[in-house]
């Protein structure tokens, strides 16, 4: 084969092979959030009793912002870890739970009576908070530092090590 053709073919093929090689080692379910290191979008929500909550009012200490739903099975898995962490870091960290527009008060209350509650569920009634945070699949959790910068996003059910290591880094 002609030397020039070999070189040009290599220039095209090698980057493609590297690209594909990197792709094989990447979990397609894990998509990096462009919000890491950026200011957390301010929001105002209400719980099912109508009590308001603004993110700005919660800052001054780290915030764990957890997007979950009453029908979500992986949310059941992480729930005990959040219960434990909310108790362990009480007064030092704010825990905010946000449920999607499709969720209903009865279903959330049923979930709480079955598995316990680590705080009120705030209803993202128009879905815009989930969009502003780029939520893909539930559950997803954002760790926000005391100044309001998003430091870490965890996709999928949380585990005790991730919670404690991330929060210890923020405190």
């Amino acid at each position: 084969m002609n030397r020039v053709a070999l070189v040009v073919g290599g220039i095209i093929a090698i980057p493609l092979l590297v690209f594909l090689g990197l792709g094989f080692g990447h979990d397609p379910n894990v998509i990096a959030s462009p919000l890491i290191g950026k200011e957390a979008p301010a929001f105002a929500l209400r719980d099912f009793d109508g009590n308001p909550l603004e993110l700005a009012a919660m800052l001054g200490k780290p915030v764990v912002l957890n997007f979950w739903a009453s029908w979500c099975q992986p949310c059941v898995i992480e729930h005990p870890y959040l219960l434990r962490a909310a108790k362990q870091y009480e007064g030092k960290v704010s825990f905010i739970g946000v449920v999607p527009s499709e969720d209903r008060e009865e279903a959330v209350n049923q979930f709480y009576s079955r598995f316990g509650s680590w705080g009120p569920a705030y209803h993202d009634s128009d879905g815009k908070v989930s969009i502003a945070y780029g939520v893909f699949k539930l559950p997803e959790t954002y760790f926000i530092d005391a100044e309001g910068t998003i430091r870490y996003k965890h996709a999928g059910p949380l585990d005790p090590v991730t919670i404690s290591e991330t929060l210890e880094g923020l405190l």
């Binding site: 095209i12 998509i31 009634s125 128009d126 502003a132 780029g134 939520v135």
Partner: protein, 165 residues
């Protein structure tokens, strides 16, 4: 598309009194700035919503645009596209808004810059390389074709005449 039109029809119906009374959950202007276009309404709003929605990937589907997806996430996103267009935000501003939170993943047509340029350039380069190789092969074939040999011509002539007779 029919599904998307039905969804948009539902989205355009008045929301509940509770939702109307509430303050916006997100201050879009704080994140995106002021609208750079003119507010759109009516059929034009529906058409533009589907148009912009067709450029955005549904986050929970397999490569479907939000305008074609029945998932709750896609419907919510399409609803916000509609709201933003109605407020006067341009297509570019809306795509930027969603890209800001979901990353470039949300764009069905990646931006032609940086590493993405390979998507546009690679096919052109591959075709150019193919054409070059074909041309080279033809040139080599033409160079290696049998040269004109008078002795061979004479021999062939004799064979033909014997066959004819």
């Amino acid at each position: 598309m029919a599904l998307a039109l039905l969804i948009l029809e539902l989205l355009s119906t008045p929301t509940t009194a509770v939702a109307q009374e509430e303050t916006p959950s997100i201050d879009v202007a704080a994140l995106l700035g002021q609208p750079a276009g003119s507010p759109v309404e009516g059929e034009e709003l529906t058409r533009r919503t589907l148009e912009v929605g067709s450029l955005m990937r549904c986050p929970v589907c397999q490569g479907l645009p939000i305008s074609d997806s029945p998932s709750a996430s896609a419907i919510t996103m399409l609803s916000q596209v509609r709201d933003l267009l109605a407020e006067g935000y341009t297509q570019s501003q809306i795509l930027d808004y969603f890209e800001r939170s979901y990353g470039e993943f949300v764009l069905l047509q990646p931006k032609a810059k940086g590493f993405n340029l390979l998507v546009w350039l690679a096919p052109v380069l591959v075709v150019a390389l193919g054409l070059y190789l074909i041309r080279r092969r033809l040139a080599v074939a033409s160079d290696s074709s049998p040269s004109h040999d008078p002795d061979l011509d004479e021999y062939l002539q004799r064979v033909r005449s014997e066959v004819d007779s």
